[in-house]
């Protein structure tokens, strides 16, 4: 499939760009990594000169940036992202522990966001300009301006503290208690979905409005199809391009969101790992997490590109 090959090739430069840029930015951070690792939190001592130089050599921090990047890249393609400067745990091992947690959170929040955005977007588009549509739009803009941590706090207050239905924080392993695991994810996923669905809903609404002007919708009506059938079977697919594109692009925002949400709800995911590693200047860990995020971003957007071809057969033909 030529289309797939072409799209995959596009992703290679993106990957290099992201990893190199993050490498550079971490290097630009003020302070010395060796100091951060060796300094004693209680006494403030930073160790002997010999020890510092030995560590610097061991971590290759004495070499130029480009060499370090090349070394890191060489190991990375072999699946070795290095070891944590702080805990000496292999970065890949830490990621493997955390990824399922974040993935579950992201998938649940995406499902919730889509489940809210599609019916509301279609309804709003079908009744474009009506009082209900305007009300929904006003509500969506209101929600859009709420910061994610505020939304999360409000949900915790309502559902965990006032109603006591759901836990306010913490994480249970799925293998231990599946229902407990899902319960723990409901509020964080709902929080992420809340900030994400208004934009999705709005773009779907606009596309539905323009699709409903199409001749093929008039033809479907003239066939005697029901409104429900026309909206979901004739109008939804041609209206979902911007929606799907946005879904891919929002993955970036979603990852930012998980960083905040995982901290707020004490969920041991990749976002929490990133924040903790930044705190301890565990640069190699930060680099590993960023690499993972870049891969997710790139793969999701590849999937979105492939989805275009599924949604509209004309796309595959054009490529």
């Amino acid at each position: 499939m030529a289309y797939l090959r072409l799209k995959t090739l596009h992703l290679i430069p993106v990957f290099f760009l992201v990893t190199f840029a993050s490498f550079m930015m971490l290097d630009l951070l003020p302070g010395d990594t060796v100091d951060a690792i060796l300094s004693d939190a209680d006494t403030g001592e930073i160790g002997s000169v010999e020890a510092r130089e030995a560590l610097r050599k061991e971590l290759n921090l004495d070499k130029p940036l480009i060499v370090r990047y090349a070394l890191w890249l060489g190991n990375m393609v072999q699946g070795d992202l290095g070891r944590s400067y702080v805990t000496t745990q292999p970065v890949t091992e830490a990621l493997v522990q955390r990824i399922p947690v974040s993935l579950e959170l992201m998938i649940m929040s995406q499902i919730l966001a889509i489940a809210m955005a599609i019916p509301i977007g279609i309804y709003s588009g079908y009744h474009g300009g009506s009082t209900v549509d305007r009300g929904i739009s006003a509500f969506a803009f209101g929600v859009l301006s709420v910061p994610v941590f505020v939304a999360g706090t409000v949900y915790i207050w309502i559902f965990a503290i006032e109603l006591g239905w759901l836990p306010s924080s913490g994480h249970t392993d799925f293998s231990e208690d599946p229902w407990g695991n899902i319960k723990g994810f409901i509020l964080p996923a709902l929080t992420l979905a809340t900030i994400e669905f208004p934009i999705l809903m709005r773009v779907l609404r606009v596309d539905v409005i323009s699709t409903l002007q199409e001749d093929y919708i008039a033809l479907a009506k003239s066939k005697g199809m029901t409104t429900w059938y026309i909206l979901f079977h004739h109008a939804l697919r041609p209206s979902s391009f911007t929606f799907v594109t946005l879904l891919g692009l929002q993955i970036g925002q979603l990852i930012t969101g998980t960083v905040v949400i995982e901290t707020l709800f004490s969920i041991p995911g990749v976002g929490k790992l990133l924040i903790d590693s930044v705190d301890t200047r565990d640069e190699i860990m930060v680099q590993g997490v960023i690499t993972f995020i870049a891969i997710v971003y790139v793969v999701v957007n590849l999937l979105v590109d492939l989805l275009y071809a599924v949604l509209d057969p004309r796309v595959a033909r054009r490529a």
């Binding site: 001749d215 008039a218 033809l219 697919r237």
Partner: protein
């Protein structure tokens, strides 16, 4: 009308109005239109772009927006039932089954993301209650009957794989799927190559005869209407300004607008490079229709009375030939001779 005694026609439109409430005012797209159509007959509706032909057809089948911006009045009697008074649920039963439609541009009237087979079978399954496998067989027959080769292979193809002419054949197959008694073809060949036009119109005529279906053929091209219809209604600015049998219209047009339409159609008998007499000016803005005859502004014969008072539809000795004009063509010639 003196035809009250005859059995009810298939379709009878009585004093139909369709107005659009737009931010800039009310557009009088269809303004008091009446006509009737017997079973198995073909009625041509002819007029320039913007004369209200398409809105008329969409009003009959009731597929205009339902957001309150469309104001309807009048009756659309189909087999004696007033469609305008039917609730949406009953109207849905009419669409596709009793009245079907073919649209102007087959490039946009077929859903680009749905397979051709599905677009045909959904009528059969959803409207006729056919089981899936039978619907597929029937769809193949329909595709064959509209003259598309390799019918079975077409089911899994998308509209993009077909040429304009083939797509219009698919659109006709979709319209025929519900075995309607009335087919409304809204400029069915305007978007197609001239060489394809005759094929599509011949196909429509063939299907009409075979199924004893009535057809409303909407066109801006009087030449097409002359060749393929039994009766004609000429529309101008939302109104019917002349109506009679096609033969009569071609022989004895009474309304200057009809004459102007005839003169503006290219004629194969003319020597090459003959000037086409385009009608000067533009049709009136439907937001602000003039008070008198709506054609007066562009009419070469217009007199003072024309822009002052609207002429009602009238007839001479032949009651089936009606026209709306203060100074109909032949009478004027008789006066000047």
């Amino acid at each position: 009308m003196d035809s009250e005694t005859s059995a009810s026609p298939l379709l009878e439109v009585v004093d139909l109005y369709t107005h659009f409430d737009t931010p800039r005012g009310v557009a009088h797209a269809v303004d008091g239109v009446s006509f009737r159509l017997e079973r198995g007959r073909t009625l041509g509706i002819v007029g320039e772009s913007g004369s209200g032909k398409s809105v008329l057809s969409r009003t009959i089948i009731d597929i205009l927006a339902k957001d309150g911006s469309v104001l309807n009045q009048g009756e659309v009697r189909f087999e004696g039932r007033d469609l305008m008074a039917l609730p949406e649920k009953d109207m849905r039963e009419i669409r596709g089954r009793e009245i079907a439609m073919v649209f102007q541009d087959p490039m946009s009237s077929l859903n680009p993301v749905k397979k051709i087979g599905k677009q045909i079978t959904e009528v059969l399954v959803k409207r006729l209650g056919m089981p899936g496998a039978e619907a597929k067989r029937r769809a193949v027959e329909l595709i064959e009957s509209v003259g598309i080769p390799d019918a079975a292979q077409q089911l899994d193809r998308f509209p993009m794989h077909l040429s304009g002419g083939m797509r219009q054949r698919v659109a006709i197959a979709i319209a025929l799927a519900g075995e309607p008694k009335l087919l409304i073809a809204d400029e069915p060949t305007t978007a197609l190559d001239v060489t394809i036009q005759a094929q599509i119109l011949d196909l429509l005529r063939h299907q009409q005869v075979e199924r004893n279906m009535a057809v409303i053929l909407i066109s801006h091209d009087l030449g097409i209407v002359a060749q393929y219809t039994d009766d004609v209604a000429v529309m101008y600015a939302g109104q019917i300004v002349e109506s009679c049998s096609t033969e009569e219209l071609i022989r004895r047009p009474r309304m200057p607008y009809t004459e102007a339409l005839m003169n503006s159609a290219p004629n194969l008998a003319d020597p090459p490079h003959t000037r086409l007499d385009a009608i000067p000016g533009l049709p009136p803005n439907l937001l602000r229709v003039p008070g008198g005859c709506r054609f007066a502004e562009r009419c070469p014969y217009a007199a003072e009375k024309c822009s002052a008072e609207m002429p009602a539809l009238t007839h001479d000795d032949d009651p089936s030939h009606i026209y709306a004009c203060w100074y109909p063509l032949e009478i004027k010639e008789a006066v000047s001779a």
